[in-house]
Symmetry: C2
Subunit: 211 residues, 2 copies
Amino acid sequence: MLLSGGLDSATTLAIAQSDGFDCYVLSFRYGQRHAAELDAARRVAKSLGAAKHVILDIDLREFGGSALTDDIAVPKDRTPDSSIPVTYVPARNTIFLSFALAWAEVLGAQDIFIGVNALDYSGYPDCRPEYIAAFQQLADLATKAGVEGSRLRIHAPLIRMTKAEIIRKGTELGVDFGLTLSCYDPSPAGKPCGHCDACQLRAKGFAEALV
Amino acid sequence: MLLSGGLDSATTLAIAQSDGFDCYVLSFRYGQRHAAELDAARRVAKSLGAAKHVILDIDLREFGGSALTDDIAVPKDRTPDSSIPVTYVPARNTIFLSFALAWAEVLGAQDIFIGVNALDYSGYPDCRPEYIAAFQQLADLATKAGVEGSRLRIHAPLIRMTKAEIIRKGTELGVDFGLTLSCYDPSPAGKPCGHCDACQLRAKGFAEALV
């Protein structure tokens, strides 16, 4: 499963663990602005008892094109609209899921978990249910397991949940959200900015969840 | 476009160039057994006049599971059968195409070329027409461009060609196949072994093409 260190993927890990899966957890050092989210991923993987946590290096700064991987400012106190914001990293989830697919195939795993959600989110194209369905179709054709008849299932348990529902679910499963970091632009010490899209969605979620 | 340094991707590059595309070419240092194929990729990109050549580092040895990325011997003088050989690298083309998709989106490119072929090949699942069609569907949903209505097209011009047809096409377009390297297990100096699947398919192709 893919783990970013944010609250969505932490809750997804807790769901997979409570469903009885042994979780092999994958994070990426992809050229993001800050390493604080990888510290959060390490804390979360350890606290929830992942079987193994791998952090892969892939340098998406070679391509640039996003506020998260290039010298483009992270927008603050933005009013959400229907456009795709500059924090979108081109094809990021496709790259992350491709690596998950590779590792799953080597491990003989038949399940991949990803914490995307399509309600309280930043409007990225690769967080939508139809995107996940297309990756499922690709996975069925891309692998040796698929050719030999077994099916690798992509799970996106949060995809139709609101942020408040995710927070309530995580709380119920014992996730310590104090270990997670959602901010796109934290201080070097890992303090969230409070003003980017991710901070705003997070604050609204806790308020609505009454947590 | 994706370039490995072998004869298929060299011919694909020549086709794209002759069709008038400015080619931004992507290769990977993915933990393969030898760097000789990257030397070949550099020679080919230069000789055919690519606009830009990027070599990305991604360490697939972290997962292992293939004779090309792990301590598993490359089979020699194998009689082809219907099984998927140990030289298959789990999800490799999915990972490569995902990075191509990311770069294409940043460049504003609307075309991705990949030199897979499904006739004289090693039986890998991610070289089949139905796999490429599934990636096309994914690309339409995965990107900002897709959401905004423009369509990124995946081109696999060799997919239904025999190795002999590829060699004849490349020859016609002026590809210097002496610059390419197909071998899965060359000497440190880049001399092909002559006995792996790739060497055998290549030799058979040249014999049939009368080149």
